[in-house]
Symmetry: C3
């Protein structure tokens, strides 16, 4: 009766009920990566993002702080912002009845506010009827929010995500927070978010679908993923000059890197929805927005030092490598999604030894769903 290690059963990838449970217990309960902080540099600049089932508004205050709120007026519930991004001067005004909030969320004004009293006849509490705040922290230049009443410690997220790099300081040497977005692509993927995570975590598929990536990282032909073993990464081929679609030279090494971070590719997964790819001259950063059991949006940023971007050099071969990897990966995930509802996958598929670390991800998902009670 011995057999290969099993994956999650197929219905974990198709059930609307399980996806709703993931919304509640994963995306709305863990730290969720939203916007690049620098995209909201000036006071009053805002962006609307979907976090689980909630519309969340991120806005830069006049005090320079970035804050997050539920995008809902406290009066009769109109959405404060319907545009995906924009800029206001000093306040957020609901267009329905003109309730007006400061950039810190406090209720500043409302028509006849002087006459508004609670059921005890007292003037209304402007704090109580302020916008509902959402916890926010910044890391790697991105704003991470958490809808839980008691957010889990963010340090645990960092520690767990960076463990495979071997060295707690390794990721800091890339200086990701100081890089600029050189290119951004948004992909719509007709697949469950967990298929995308699993695909990112293993490299047994690399030789089948990623000819360009394997050209740069020839050891990927062996099928062992960069994040399968602690501190390893993957080494550039001896003839390869840079992490580009044809192995041609890229750009200068990021200033803080150590010698053993040169000519190597590292990758980490920040559960639930972020992948970070580290190469000597840039960083590729993926954020997922799971929208349904079979639909996920992936936003991918290519991050470079500002002086490289300002130099006028041709970025196309640098960007093209991972853009192709993305398209190849998402096509594979979309091909897999329909089979998740087959009786052939009722008890799941199997993991080969090079994929055994995926079981850790599966256990994490199961534990999060079990935590729901």
């Amino acid at each position: 009766m011995s057999a290969l290690l099993a994956t999650l059963p197929g219905h974990y990838y198709t059930s609307g009920d399980l996806f709703a449970a993931e919304q509640a217990n994963i995306f709305e309960s863990r730290w969720f990566c939203t916007v690049r902080s620098a995209d909201l540099a000036e006071p009053g600049r805002f962006r609307k993002v979907q976090v689980g089932r909630e519309s969340v508004l991120l806005v830069r205050g006049r005090d320079g702080l970035l804050r997050a709120f539920l995008n809902v007026c406290r009066h009769r519930g109109a959405q404060l912002c319907t545009e995906s991004e924009g800029q206001v001067r000093r306040s957020l005004r609901c267009p329905y009845h003109s309730w007006t909030y400061g950039l810190d969320g406090r209720l500043m004004a409302a028509p006849n506010i002087g006459t508004l009293t609670d059921d005890a006849g007292s003037p209304i509490d402007r704090q109580r009827y302020g916008l509902v705040p959402v916890a926010l922290t910044e890391w790697l230049g991105y704003a991470w929010v958490c809808l839980a009443d008691v957010p889990p410690p963010f340090e645990d997220v960092v520690a767990e995500a960076t463990a495979t790099l071997g060295d707690a300081d390794a990721i800091n040497r890339y200086g990701i927070g100081g890089l600029d977005v050189g290119h951004r692509v948004v992909y719509e993927v007709a697949a469950n978010w967990k298929l995308i995570v699993e695909n990112f975590m293993e490299c047994y598929h690399c030789s089948s679908i990623h000819p360009e990536l394997v050209g740069v990282l020839p050891e990927f032909t062996k099928g062992v993923a960069a994040q399968a073993n602690v501190g390893r990464g993957a080494e550039f081929g001896s003839q390869v000059q840079g992490f580009t679609v044809d192995g041609a030279a890229g750009f200068g090494r990021l200033p803080g890197l150590t010698e053993d971070q040169d000519r190597r590719y590292y990758a980490i997964t920040v559960k639930p929805t972020v992948f970070v790819n580290l190469v000597p001259d840039h960083v590729i950063f993926h954020r997922m927005y799971p929208l349904a059991a079979d639909r996920t949006v992936v936003e991918c940023d290519w991050l470079y030092p500002r002086d490289v971007l300002n130099s006028g050099q041709d970025m196309s071969r640098s960007v093209e490598l991972f853009h192709r990897v993305n398209e190849q990966d998402f096509a594979a995930c979309e091909r897999t999604q329909p089979a998740m509802s087959s009786r052939a996958y009722r008890n799941g598929g199997v993991l080969v030894p090079a994929e055994h670390h995926l079981a850790v991800f599966h256990e994490w998902v199961l534990s999060r769903l079990a935590a729901a009670v």
Copy 2:
């Protein structure tokens, strides 16, 4: 712990189950306004309307009576009419197997009807296999139908709807049944029908979104609705000549009106789906067709005396005022709908004093749903 009065919790505006309960216990159990009787003036003229989950056929008989039936052949269930409106001569013939019904619903003919016997061998009962009748009454020139086995007294609907006019005879003086449709617009609104009712009932939003309306009715800047107090309505501004988009003169006063009905706007809500707006020279009549928890069709008629319509005068400024109000209101409702599923609205929003009469509507909805058992 004192707080502002709460609205209904958000899931009342999004739940498919609650909407199904509303279909059963409100739209299919109360009097529901369907067509303008005059639209079906000639014998054989018919129109198909959606009442809750049912397709209902209204048809003018050769005896001049308007009748309503379920739009379903009693034999194998084909829809008798698939067109939204039309005209037949003397009968409604199902095109599938040619069962043929009189305009009074009686089964007139069927292929081999002479050989059709029931399971006791008797000839079939043509009344029993006639079209399923639906109760119908006429008021204000419209046909109101009720799918309940025992329809509630229509007088109660009239009394409740007109109570805020103060005077039981006030609405009759407008002679609405004798007016003609001068203009009709059908709006598709991506919002729950109750948001549209609430929006119509209050005027706290008027100064925020209705500049033209407030121009004509300046007291609306105070946020007090015309139907918040008995017999008040709202007075035209002193410089205003008529109920038009720019306050220019409208048409002559409707013949039956009293002096205190001149230069005033009155409004009533006929629950569940009708709004009537009364001004000295015309009437604006809204009918809603709730199609889903988040989708409602609103049909709006502008009604004028026939001689005004025949006079060739320009109607555009008269029509434009409420057309803009409609577009402004429905945009606000559509902006509110998405937030109904937010945790910020889990226990609802709040009502300011000028909106307190909305709570009566909320109680009515809850009592109807509770009546369902």
Copy 3:
């Protein structure tokens, strides 16, 4: 209290839950007709079909045998084939991780297959990780598959379907397996599959909607279906020369037919999803693919002897007759579907005596659903 015989209640035609039960207990449990075998004549030729909720792959082996498999890789579940049809040389290779299967389903190769061991450390069992086979048999030139663990005897399907022909050998004389597809049309029908079966089984509607068919088979004006009585069929009108849209001559009589099969139309229903229409010079063969409670795809083949097809004669009048019948029937079914959710059809409609044999089909459906328990 006596009444006409009732049909199934309306919710049998609209409920998603009942449709799911039909998927499990009918389409995925009985023999289901898929492809014309001759469409997959050469080794490596494959076609993907939907059987209930499963994607099934039919492929001709190098040994000449036609086989069926679930279209799912045993490793991580990618669909082996996403095209609807095609041809491979000697194997089916999953493009995600390159697991490769023989045309007989056996796992032939996988990257690092030598190192893949089960949890007891033994080399993996290539049979165990082969494609999941699906039972297949051939009849009338079509491949019938069954997803049940223990398929019911196919002889029972044949015996029940052909019983109304009166003579067990009658269908064989048409030599259907040896005919060629002269024309094929795929219809998308917005109706429940059972409405399509019921429509096919009765002829009470023929005089209402099938003028061309009644022109060729004038006894159909009486409303008695060809399959209502054993061995009867329906006779061509005396002036009719052939089974064509205008009664003009068709082609020569099929070689094996007896005299009493000439100038007659016969029809059988092979439950759940096949109709076969037999006329002296050709055969019209319908296969249904039920996709949802209110959506069914019907594929219709017109089958002729090869020499007729090769002769260059004009097929259009021969094909046009049943193409019109199909369009007329499917329009009637689509008109009926919406009324299935009406309260008027809550307990079903009624069957006239000429439709009483439909009750046998209804009982069969109920017994299949009850068998599910």
